[in-house]
């Protein structure tokens, strides 16, 4: 193959991979940097500094930092504590508890924010009203429209990042290390301090950085709870600017400058995470000789179990129930009582209202289309990266992983710059612009899943097929694709499920008939249609949970 420039399957594959990545990923992101750094055709750093030194922009930067750090600290503490509890202690029902602690991952955090607004807004939140009206408190016990409120809500839905990582590390940890310390006479406290914590520290840190990465670029919660109190972070400020300044170039430019800062911060976090992981990995190599000793909680067993149940009740059951109940209220502000309940809201959004019905179908259609396209593109690109010996594939890998570190608002902004007519194609205001953005956003997921699957397919299989006279295409179709199918299916669901509840990207791109589920809930809440927003959120929860459950079933069968 090498040397001869025959235009065969490998060349087509390579060309296709490059084209997909350049068109969908590289161009939008590059346009952001270009528009941030270049003014009227010349490099202008001073102007960028000027935008950043405006009061509103640097305040948003500082807010992003404050919120992300706060959520990281609290989320890490909560995640580590619960991980330790369900893996290393004799807590009753810890298997079930472990599953329950992962539920918040399913729930979109902006729906959580909506629920907490209803529970803890200072005068009208149901919890605050209970304390003021029934228990006679002089004022609200907690105001959700504050930094603390936002951090609290984000923590509830982001702590699983640390929880999963730490659980994994604690389970994989070589128990002989702890055993030898014990045999040498160390007590439990010393073992924990000198052996366990240092061993899981990289996992804690890497989970913490994931929380930080996510929280910094997070739109939903801050938009629901912060804007009212004047708390903006970078993504909400970008949204506000794009929507209010008539799409003027100044607004888009501010957006690109903020995006650049966000991308740099995200890159820094990812770099840190890679360093932490590469340092820590060799220390936790799995050696499943026997299970590590469980710490006996003794008298604390039941209180801690009660605490876990209370935590789950408080962060999962209470908000979800609130959503469904408020969604059934005749109008917002009425007490939750049978005579005030109605099914009209649910009926209206499911059967009568185009806005919400469109939103549901748009989200499902977008999720399926993005997942399918990205899945197939992911196979092609991963194949080039993992199996083919072509120059420049490192660049492909970098391009493919780029969106992973590029926050959603930035991708959306890049897509607006690239696809709204300046370069010949105008899909602004159509469903296609959201699809294009989703493909860019979720490409990294598909690459990860497919690369992992492809690495397990030994080259000798393809070589054998080729030696027996199969063409490259035949070898791919008959050997490779069937073998990587589990990876492809995994990629499909890794994309379909998050796309179903996506908000950050679509909120910047939606048009009159192209709302997504997330956008519908967000705009209804913003327009003061709280009961409809809640009803829609309830419907969304049912769709999301059903999809998760169905997907898990199907996925298992495929395996």
């Amino acid at each position: 193959m090498t040397g001869s420039f025959r235009f065969g399957t490998p060349q087509i594959l390579f060309g296709l991979a490059v084209a997909i990545l350049v068109i969908f990923v590289a161009v939008p992101v590059l346009l952001i940097f270009f528009n941030a750094l270049w003014v009227n055709g010349s490099l202008n750093i001073a102007d960028m500094v000027k935008v950043l030194s405006e009061r509103e922009t640097y305040k948003a930067l500082i807010n992003s930092l404050i919120l992300a750090s706060g959520v990281t600290v609290t989320g890490t503490i909560v995640g580590t504590f619960f991980a330790w509890l369900v893996t290393r202690t004799d807590l009753p029902y810890k298997g079930a508890m472990k599953v329950l602690f992962l539920v918040p991952f399913m729930l979109p955090s902006f729906i959580g924010a909506l629920a907490w607004k209803m529970l803890l807004s200072p005068r009208s939140g149901y919890i605050n009203r209970f304390f003021i009206e029934t228990l006679g408190f002089p004022g609200p016990i907690f105001d959700i429209y504050t930094y603390q409120g936002i951090i609290l809500v984000e923590t509830m839905y982001l702590f699983p990042f640390v929880f999963i990582q730490v659980c994994g590390a604690l389970e994989r940890m070589d128990p002989t290390l702890e055993e030898s310390a014990r045999i040498s006479g160390a007590d439990l406290f010393t073992i924990t301090r000198k052996i366990t914590i240092p061993l899981v520290a990289p996992s804690i840190l890497s989970g913490a950085l994931l929380i930080m990465l996510y929280s910094m670029a997070h739109f939903g919660t801050v938009a629901m709870l912060g804007i009212e109190a004047g708390i903006y972070n970078i993504p909400t400020l970008i949204y506000e600017r794009i929507h209010q300044s008539a799409g003027s170039f100044a607004a888009i430019r501010t957006g690109t400058v903020l995006s650049t800062v966000l991308v740099i911060a995200a890159a820094l976090i990812i770099w840190l995470q890679n360093r932490v992981l590469s340092k820590g990995r060799y220390q936790i190599i799995a050696g499943k000789s026997f299970r590590p000793t469980e710490i006996r909680l003794r008298g604390l067993r039941l209180p801690l179990l009660a605490f876990c149940i209370a935590y789950i009740g408080f962060t999962i059951v209470l908000p979800t129930t609130t959503i469904f109940l408020v969604g059934g209220l005749k109008t917002y502000g009425l007490p939750i009582a049978v005579e005030n309940m109605t099914f009209d809201n649910y009926h209206h959004i499911l059967f009568e209202w185009d806005l919400t019905r469109d939103a549901i179908w748009n989200s499902i259609g977008l999720g399926l289309a993005a997942a399918l396209i990205t899945m197939f593109a992911g196979v092609i690109i991963s194949y080039v990266i993992v199996k083919m010996k072509v120059p420049g594939k490192g660049l492909l890998e970098f391009l493919g992983m780029l969106p992973f570190s590029v926050p959603g608002s930035v991708i959306a902004l890049g897509v607006i710059l690239a696809w709204s007519g300046k370069y010949g194609i105008n899909i602004y205001n159509t469903i296609w612009i959201i699809l294009v953005a989703y493909i860019a956003r979720y490409m990294a997921f598909a690459l990860k899943a497919n690369s992992a699957a492809l690495e397990q397919v030994h080259d000798s299989l393809v070589e054998a097929a080729r030696a027996s006279g199969a063409t490259m295409w035949q070898a791919l179709r008959d050997i490779v694709i069937p073998l990587v199918r589990p990876g492809m299916v995994a990629a499909f669901f890794l994309i379909f499920l998050p796309a179903l509840r996506e908000l950050t990207v679509s909120v910047l791109l939606y048009g009159p008939t192209t709302r997504t589920i997330g956008v519908a809930i967000y705009t209804l809440n913003e327009d003061g249609e709280t009961v409809y927003a809640a009803a829609m959120a309830g419907v969304a929860l049912i769709i999301i949970v059903t999809a998760e459950v169905v997907v898990k079933r199907v996925f298992k069968i495929e395996k």
Partner: protein
């Protein structure tokens, strides 16, 4: 196999989205009217004109104008019809020459509150704003605009963001014209807040997050109908704000647009508007008695006079000054 099925169904789904509605005229309406009003009009319009597929974008006037500006930038305005309450916007669009004049069929039956009427845009309703307050928490009804500056409403009176809401902008502008900026400063000194949209401040009043707000008639009355503990009162100096409707020049759906304009101004359309709790522009349509709305003639007499042209010039400065006061 499974993947192939999924592929097929997904393509079908996406395909359906992209398919044009079968042999129908299309119509995009950008409006600041809320779902309770525009949703009903859409249903009735669809029954009368099944050949037209109407889609609307309901959002605050500020957001809609931003969207239209962005669409003009990209070369294609998606909206065929614009219907908001931010009257200066219409004069501005008229000056820029992007509006298509159309004199509605039943013009003779209409009350026209707009000076220099030439058919470029026609008032569809007379929006009124009063003080909405939560009857669960406030026992004495406010009577004048100054009453919300008192201790009863301390820290809990809201006005929608005039950058987002057309009615809020018009109201702020009119109240300032009548009472001076001192009125807004006194409100702020009493802890008044700037909220988001015109719907949101009313929702917050219904929930009790706010005790009172500067509120649009039908948004408040719709919630009262549904059982909210709200009441709407009108101080003597009334805020009466026409909501004009207009067609964009070059609209590919101009015929459907004309049908819609005629429909909302017809007796049927105006009756829906009156039933929802806002003043119609036809004298042959009455507002139901259960609403506290004064008759049109009375409202016009009590209204604070409006000078649209000067409003247009002062718009940005007014919004900025108001925002500065409220965020101090």
């Amino acid at each position: 196999m499974k993947i192939r099925h999924l592929l097929a169904s997904a393509l079908l789904l996406v395909g359906f989205q992209a398919l044009p509605a079968q042999a129908q005229e299309k119509l995009y309406v950008y409006t600041s009217m809320k779902e309770s009003l525009i949703g009903q009009l859409k249903t009735a319009f669809a029954a009368k004109h099944p050949e037209v597929k109407l889609d609307y974008q309901s959002a605050g006037a500020g957001k809609l104008m931003a969207k239209i500006a962005a669409e003009r930038e990209s070369g294609k305005i998606l909206a065929d019809v614009l219907w908001t309450s931010e009257v200066p916007d219409f004069y501005q669009l008229q000056e820029q020459g992007v509006l298509q004049p159309y004199v509605p069929k039943e013009i003779k039956a209409l009350v026209n509150p707009l000076p220099d009427y030439d058919g470029t845009f026609t008032a569809v309703r007379l929006g009124t704003l009063g003080i909405a307050y939560n009857t669960r928490l406030i026992k004495t009804a406010p009577k004048t605009w100054a009453d919300v500056q008192g201790a009863a409403f301390k820290g809990a009176y809201g006005i929608a963001n005039p950058a987002l809401s057309g009615t809020a902008y018009m109201s702020v502008s009119l109240l300032v014209r009548q009472f001076g900026w001192g009125y807004m400063e006194a409100l702020r000194a009493n802890g008044a807040k700037m909220g988001k949209g015109s719907g949101q401040v009313v929702d917050d009043t219904a929930s009790g997050d706010l005790l009172g707000s500067l509120a649009v008639d039908y948004i408040t009355l719709d919630k009262v109908d549904k059982g909210a503990t709200l009441a709407l009162v009108y101080p003597p100096e009334m805020l009466v704000i026409p909501s004009p409707i207009t067609i964009f020049k070059g609209s590919p759906n101009a015929e459907a647009a004309k049908k819609f304009v005629d429909f909302v101004l017809s007796k049927e359309g105006q009756t829906i508007i009156a039933e929802e709790g806002t003043l119609p522009v036809r004298s042959d349509v009455q507002v139901p008695d259960r609403y506290p709305l004064p008759p049109v003639a009375d409202a016009m007499k009590r209204a604070i006079p409006v000078d649209y042209k000067s409003m247009m010039a002062e718009k940005e400065a007014t919004i900025k000054k108001f925002t500065d006061i409220m965020q101090k």
